[in-house]
Amino acid sequence: MKIRIDIDENNVDEIIIKCKKITSEITDIQNLLKNSNKKIIFYKDNVEYYLELSNILFFETEDNFVNAHTRDNVFQTKYKLYELEKILPNSFMRVSKSTILNVQHIYSINHSITSSSVVEFTNTYKKVYVSRLYYKILKEKLERRFLYER
């Protein structure tokens, strides 16, 4: 895809995407531009934390609330998983009934044909399971990962 930036004093700041038809890549770019400034409040022991979403490895449900895991800590958030799916930026993806993970921190995926695959994250012992259904979608997303790398 070609990227062209038109600098002109008389220009109004606007992003126009020219394409033949809407593909998933185009919608990814669209969501990336829309949601890059989202912030969620995290809670732990009656303290509110304002963390960068890029620090979160994955979200997982536990009974009544959702846990957000960083490298060596866990926080709670008031949102439910389906709500998070809508508001989180594109680097987050649902991989099972109870987990949404951040593809930027994936270190390895241990693929299993018969059961769930195991995802390992960089610099931590934490792991999550990806169900067979979501594995293919995750692989495709990782191949388009260059869009989310910083």
Binding site: N73, V74, V118, K126, K127, V128
Partner: protein, 226 residues
């Protein structure tokens, strides 16, 4: 466990006596090794019956069939068919009688409410699951896993008293336990064709103890200290 020691002690004493008896000329129709195996397998059979462990019962009967194949005229089904039959029978009986184990034999298994956050229940069958335990006053974890895999993370949990108990009821399953470095693990699990491994053990400044109990069959537990 006193009972165990007495049982095996008697077995070895009996085995020793039989060696002498055999050398003295009595009991010579049955070969010495056959005799050893017979007594060994009968011992396992009795022990398994007491514990109602289907794996032990079926495999010891299969072993006895192999030893006495000639006398019983059952060469057709030894050794492999009878062993494979024991394996299938073992799997089948486990599937059928898993609930019986829980209620009857193990009074330790709590069916406690979800209200008490000191008690965590993990139930996985034919699948895989990762469970992160974050409770601040952990007392007990009940893990029931059959034909599946489970990863339990206790790094963010705190134990209320000096120790916490993890109760296992597993068949044909694999479990990984991630435990903080400054906790000690005590193993009281009843194992049957199963193994428990530890990784990264670096025992310094021990603060709390985790006690493992329950029964596991044809399964593996890996304890990783983090």
């Amino acid at each position: 466990m006193k009972g165990k020691n007495i049982f095996w002690g008697l077995f070895f004493v009996l085995a020793g006596a039989l060696v002498l008896v055999n050398q003295l000329g009595l009991f010579t129709e049955i070969g010495l090794f056959s005799l050893f195996f017979t007594i060994f397998l009968v011992a396992i059979l009795i022990k398994s019956t007491v514990h109602i462990s289907f794996t032990g019962i079926l495999f010891s009967i299969a072993g006895l069939c192999i030893v006495y194949a000639e006398t019983l005229h059952i060469e057709n089904i030894t050794p492999w068919p009878v062993l494979i039959a024991a394996l299938f029978g073992s799997i089948g009986l486990h599937c059928i009688f898993n609930n019986h184990h829980k209620h009857h034999h193990d009074k330790e298994f709590d069916h406690e409410s979800i209200d008490s956050d000191g008690i965590v229940n993990v139930d996985v069958s034919f699948g895989a699951s990762a469970k992160y335990i974050n409770t601040k006053n952990l007392e007990k974890v009940n893990i029931s896993c059959n034909f599946g895999a489970v990863k339990i993370y206790l790094d963010n949990a705190s134990i209320k008293n000096d120790n916490a108990v993890i109760y296992f009821n597993m068949s044909f399953a694999g479990a990984e336990l991630y435990i903080p470095k400054n906790w000690r693990v005590e193993n009281n699990i009843d194992t049957s064709l199963a193994g428990i491994d530890e990784k990264n053990l670096n025992a310094k400044d021990i603060e709390k103890t985790i006690i493992l109990t329950g029964k596991i069959n044809l399964s593996g537990i890996e304890i990783i200290y983090i």
